[in-house]
């Protein structure tokens, strides 16, 4: 469940970039299969972390690029289903060209709305959490 730590890290990273008094609508992250992030677990983690941050209603958009390998022997590049797939030439070593992505791509902000600060969001309601946030999961295909 490193998704909880990842969601908390994302919140802190987004705080650095979120313009003052603007509301977060959506954060787009690009996470390859290398990092073993489970979208369903990430959804739960994001719901908690983003609601705690006062960003209730924001969405996390996860872009999942595929594995991309290059055979060291013949130079062929391909997108395997699983990373242990050998090259058709019988080569035994690969370089990983894609699948290890782990970045925050962008945030979408509502520049017309006044953002409720974390302090405001928490006051009055105690630590009660509402789960109106969510996650969009997008498997990226080779033509992206």
């Amino acid at each position: 469940m490193h998704e909880v730590s990842i969601a908390e890290s994302l919140v802190e990273l987004i705080r650095r970039h979120l313009p003052a008094h603007q509301r977060l609508i959506r954060a787009t992250v690009r996470i390859g299969p290398m990092h073993g992030v489970v979208p369903e677990a990430m959804e739960m983690a994001w719901n908690i972390a983003s609601t705690d941050a006062g960003w209730s209603g924001s969405r996390l958009h996860i872009v999942s690029p595929p594995w991309r390998l290059r055979c060291v022997t013949c130079g062929r590049c391909w997108e395997p289903v699983t990373v242990d797939e050998p090259c058709v030439c019988g080569g035994t070593h690969v370089d990983i060209l894609g699948g290890d992505e782990f970045q925050l791509d962008s945030i979408d902000v509502d520049s017309t709305a006044t953002h409720r600060s974390k302090k405001t969001a928490k006051s009055g309601r105690g630590r009660q959490r509402t789960y109106k946030t969510g996650v969009d999961h997008e498997h990226q295909s080779s033509d992206h």
Binding site: M1, H2, S5, Q22, D84, T92, H93, V94, D105, V109
Partner: protein, 236 residues
């Protein structure tokens, strides 16, 4: 009105920044740091007990050991070294750079040649979190089965050294050693794979790797110190 703000930064950038600061502290103290990652029961603590026993008098070794609960591993290791810090992570499945920073504050780093961080037993989560180490070591064992390297590509790809422990069990457990070796080589052709048996006290390649790596760090530390002094002399 919705506005897109492009960012393109590592998701764990804050952890990475702290890890970099840890790294600078380790470097200044001249201590070589290893992040040891493996599944629960792979034999990480047993390997460290052996290491502390065998290298006593050769180098000063500290250990930060992470576990969800109990001080059992810390107690075991404390029989062999005074430089042991136990970290309990609760439900946390990995150590992060901030936890290591707090733990390293309890150690006299200047007295150490080598610091080994025994991560929480887990083959997935610890791999993404940089701690400020010089080297990442991935540890597997025969009793886990021969498919574990292929199933955990992140650890295999990012490791500087890979260990297969419990090779004394090979005659008793269905484990295709050649297949395991191929899975490792498929993803990482530079990291050495050391096949050892801690239970049989057969871990010489690991001890050789550790002493060589730590000595290289020490000599580069001396060179850095020398350069530092030269710069100070030339600027004064």
């Amino acid at each position: 009105m919705s506005t897109k703000v492009p960012i393109i930064e590592n998701v764990l950038k804050l952890n990475d920044e702290m890890a970099l600061q840890n790294r600078e502290v380790f470097q200044r103290a001249g201590v070589f740091v290893v992040d040891l990652i493996g599944a629960p029961g792979a034999g990480k603590t047993a390997l460290l007990e052996l290491t502390l026993r065998q290298l006593k008098g050769v180098m000063n070794i500290g250990v930060i050991v992470g576990d969800p609960a109990t001080c059992r591993d810390g107690d075991r290791l404390a029989k062999h070294s005074e430089h042991i810090v136990q970290v309990n992570t609760g439900s946390g499945c990995h150590l992060d750079a901030n936890q290591v920073r707090h733990a390293m504050d309890k150690l006299k780093l200047a007295d150490l040649d080598l610091l080994i961080i025994e991560n929480v037993g887990n083959l997935i989560c610890p791999v993404s979190f940089n701690l400020g180490q010089n080297c990442k070591v991935g540890m597997f064992s025969v009793s886990e089965g021969d498919d574990k390297a292929a199933k955990h590509p992140n650890l295999v790809v990012s490791a500087d050294l890979l260990i297969l422990n419990k090779i004394d069990l090979l005659p008793y457990i269905p484990f295709d050693l050649e297949h395991f070796r191929q899975d490792v080589a498929h993803l990482n052709r530079t990291a050495p794979l050391l096949e050892i048996s801690v239970a049989r006290n057969q871990a010489t390649p690991w001890l050789d790797w550790l002493t060589t790596s730590a000595m290289q760090q020490e000599s580069s530390h001396r060179i850095d110190k020398h350069k530092e002094k030269s710069i100070l002399r030339s600027s004064s």
